[in-house]
């Protein structure tokens, strides 16, 4: 199924996660929960700001001209 890889987690944690989804909903399965949490933990902050390197350079120029950096 597409670009997926298998990962291993302890059965105990898996069962807890499954129970969590059962009780709280919000996720289709444990894989979806794991993917969401990993994304939360490691996704680059600049992604959430959505700036190109050129835009970032322009911001830095203003910060320099104002004496902030």
């Amino acid at each position: 199924m597409g670009d997926k890889v298998a990962i291993e987690i302890s059965r105990e944690l898996y069962e807890k996660a499954r129970k969590f989804i059962e009780e709280n909903g919000g996720f289709k399965d444990v894989s979806e929960l794991v993917e969401f949490l990993l994304n939360e933990a490691i996704s680059d902050e600049s992604e959430s700001v959505g700036m190109t390197p050129e835009e970032e350079e322009k911001v830095k120029e203003r910060l320099r001209s104002l004496g902030y950096i």
Partner: protein, 383 residues
């Protein structure tokens, strides 16, 4: 990595490039709604991500959800409605409906394009009771609410240009503070909200926070004043003096935020925290009676409300108010000083104002002399 924007993504809705050209050729024919400075400021704050994830003025679903349960309809914490009002006559005269683009103008100057999604009416009494916890028109926020139009317009907007800003040199937007914090290598940043010049109590609270984080964002609200308040440029000068003489180099960013002040007490404390999260702050210093006015809110209500938002994504810091203790021989707070009231010298903002107004330097255990001089040297420090 500093705080992620509220809702996950920083909103940036400034009209540019081809879209801008299209609007420039068309906007003369579009319906225009003249708005007061407060709404023009809201529009710019919305477009520049201060209110992320909001992309425009609230539609009815979100408005009612925020009013009743302090969350957007998607469950994200949000405590202060950001709404655009208009008069019924304007709506009827212009014959606008959902899907229409309208131009918001301030003093005739085009500020933003709003794509209407929702036109609805509101119950101002209920609004006042929910947001301000009172219907009393003597409350400044309630009074302002009653003066607004009876129809609300919801929809996403795009900024054409913000209203003229006399403090542009000191204004940084969320994208800018985020780049700045990254440049400085700060991973944790505590934001301090203020509308005042700093006395020793403020310095104590900020330094208590700074002990645990990489950097401090001193973030005065600008452009929104009532009579007797310090002028914005006086607050800036006073802080510059304090930072120069009493803070280590490179640990403080001083920048102003032009945002409306509602005096909504606890709800507004949460709002202030959410907004600072968008600027990249990881921690937010919540004052005693934060954003309060008169005696409408209990002194610690603004702290208690944070318990309802474990999912806020920014850590509130409740630092107790500082005073000078003659036995401790320094600035302390109730948590660390065992001595009785007879040793405690509290700093009164009113008393400071009176002394500074007469051109007097307050005693050094109240205000740093350099700060006092920066204020006194201004020909007219108060509005």
């Amino acid at each position: 990595m500093v705080s992620r924007p509220h809702g996950g993504r920083l909103v940036r809705r400034v009209l540019s490039g081809r879209r801008r050209e299209i609007f420039e050729s068309q906007y003369r024919e579009m319906p225009r709604l003249e708005v007061p400075l407060e709404r023009a400021i809201d529009a710019e704050d919305l477009a520049r991500g201060v209110f992320s994830p909001l992309e425009g003025f609230m539609v009815e679903d979100d408005y009612l959800s925020v009013l009743s349960r302090m969350r957007l309809s998607n469950d994200l914490p949000w405590t202060i409605p950001i709404v655009l009002d208009a008069n019924r006559e304007w709506v009827l005269n212009e014959g606008v409906s959902a899907g229409d683009d309208i131009i918001l103008t301030y003093h005739g100057l085009p500020i933003a394009v709003l794509t209407l999604e929702d036109i609805y009416s509101w119950d101002k009494g209920l609004h006042a009771e929910k947001v301000f916890k009172t219907r009393d028109p003597n409350h400044p926020g309630v009074e302002a609410t009653y003066k607004r139009g009876d129809i609300l317009l919801g929809g996403r907007l795009e900024l054409i240009q913000g209203p003229p800003n006399p403090l542009e040199r000191y204004t940084l937007w969320p994208v800018e503070t985020r780049v700045l914090f990254k440049e400085k290598g700060w991973r944790t940043v505590a934001a301090f909200q203020t509308r005042n010049v700093p006395h020793l109590g403020h310095e104590y609270v900020q330094k208590a926070a700074l002990t645990f984080v990489d950097g401090l964002l001193v973030h005065p609200l600008a452009g929104w004043k009532k009579r007797g308040d310090y002028r914005d440029e006086v607050i800036i000068r006073a802080y510059e003096a304090l930072i120069t003489h009493y803070y280590p180099r490179g640990v403080v960013v001083l920048s102003v935020l032009r945002m409306n002040m509602n005096y909504a007490g606890p709800r507004e404390a949460v709002h202030h925290a959410i907004v600072r999260k968008n600027f990249g702050a990881t921690h937010f210093i919540v004052g005693r009676d934060h954003a309060g006015v008169g005696s409408y809110y209990g002194p610690y209500e603004a702290w208690e409300i944070f318990r309802e938002f474990p999912d806020l994504g920014i850590t509130p810091l409740f630092v107790r108010e500082a005073y000078y203790c003659r036995r401790c021989g320094g600035m302390v707070n109730e948590k660390v000083c065992p001595h009785g009231d007879e040793y405690r010298v509290r700093i009164s903002g009113t008393r400071l104002r009176e002394m500074l107004g007469r051109g007097e330097r307050p005693p050094e255990y109240m205000m740093r002399p350099e700060v006092a001089d920066a204020i006194i040297s201004h020909p007219d420090p108060f509005i």
